[in-house]
Amino acid sequence: MAADSLTFIFLNAAVINNFVLALFLGICPFLGVSAKKQTAWNMGLATTFVMLVSSTCAFGINWLLTWLDIQFLRLICYIAVIASAVQLVEMVMKKFSPALFRALGIYLPLITTNCAILGLALFQTFREYNFLQSLAFSLGAGVGFTLALMLMAGLREKLELAEVPSVSQGAALSLMLAGLLSLAFMGFAGLGGSHA
């Protein structure tokens, strides 16, 4: 597989260099909303959607900034655009699909501070992806994020019934679980280079 083919970029973002388990992006929602499978699924969908939107916007902005030769404003522009994209998505969704809007609730605005979104925009800029590659990359990242969230939620739902020592309840146990998942995902490294 060529390193710049769409399939490879998608697979690379989804499993080989999974955003959560290999690159540590978006740990807060990963630990925060992974208690139930249903919320995890909704969060994953919302994040994937925002990723697609902001990746498209970031592509346009980077082109504009490069054209004007003011790349030092990139970070400020990206974060402003992501915040407004999230706001826009929220308004559009409220108008056209109130049911989905209610299902996502508070998670939608919180996506602004998810570092996976900004990280995605920065990575695609560093690697100079073209438009289609950016789309494949953001889709892969979204799928990978949802996958990690769902796996974690499934494990945590099982663990609720298990007896664990009182010291290890809460965050410590979640982190150990995440470590095990991350260890498992390292197995995918053989699919392609471990280049981040």
Binding site: L21, A22, L23, F24, L25, G26, I27, C28, L31, F72, L75, I76, I79, A80, A83, T113, N114, C115, L118, G119, L122, F123, F126, S166, V167, S168, Q169, G170, A171, A172, L173, S174, L175, M176, A178, G179, L180, S182, L183, M186, A196
Partner: protein, 220 residues
């Protein structure tokens, strides 16, 4: 937060110490986990990240605190983010100028300081309500607390994963490095272990307190 809204706090030693231990951003409040896990594969990276974050925390806190009466409430979050992003851009270019090595090792995580929830959280919950002095002292405490947490992780991971500390050989050549420690899973494991340790210490202290009061200790 113990401070009530719109109530200006007097600067005490506690303003500073709170961030170090009692409200440690990483170990107690579990904020800003992404850089904590991602850049702590060596002590040097951890230290650089801690210092960079502390600088942004102090600089953005200063501006937010000085402008707290001028920023309209409705657009405050957007204003804070733009302020933070400005200082992060400065840090980004500074690190790139000082050490390209370090810049490449930290990667996108310097720019990702923008979305570190510790900084926005401090701006929203503290700097926007307090005087400059209190903000600086509190921000410094939080920054040092964050750096301390990063160093805790960085030291363990570098020692076990590479057998070195700050690049100096600690173990003899016989030592077989635990490579997994400097790989992603190691970050999760070491942070989990530190949290376990702190939870154990806290429980032990509570149990001692109960014993001193002569209460019976059941279940725990």
């Amino acid at each position: 937060m113990p401070t009530l809204p719109n109530q200006e706090e007097k600067v005490t030693l506690d303003t500073f110490l709170r961030g170090l231990w009692e409200e440690n951003p990483v170990f107690v409040m579990l904020l800003g986990m992404c850089p904590v896990l991602a850049v702590t594969n060596s002590v040097r990276n951890a230290l650089a990240m801690g210092l960079a974050t502390t600088f942004v925390l102090l600089a953005s806190g200063t501006l937010v605190s000085l402008l707290r009466k001028l920023i309209p409430k409705q657009v405050r979050i957007a204003a804070y983010i733009v302020i933070i992003a400005t200082f992060v851009t400065i840090v980004d270019y500074t690190i790139q100028a000082i050490s390209l090595d370090l810049y490449n090792a930290l990667g996108a995580f310097i720019q990702l300081i923008v979305v570190n929830c510790i900084i926005l959280g401090r701006a929203e919950a503290y700097a926007s309500k307090q005087r400059l002095g209190a903000t600086l002292v509190n921000g410094l405490g939080m920054g040092i607390g964050f750096t301390f947490a990063l160093l805790c992780l960085g030291a363990v991971r570098e020692l076990l994963g590479n057998g070195t500390l700050l690049g100096l050989q600690v173990f003899s050549d016989q030592f077989q490095p635990w490579v997994v420690m400097i790989l992603p899973p190691g970050g999760f494991f070491v942070l989990g272990a530190w949290l376990l340790l702190f939870a154990w210490l806290r429980q032990r202290r509570e149990r001692r307190l109960l014993e001193q009061q002569g209460a019976s200790v059941h279940g725990r």
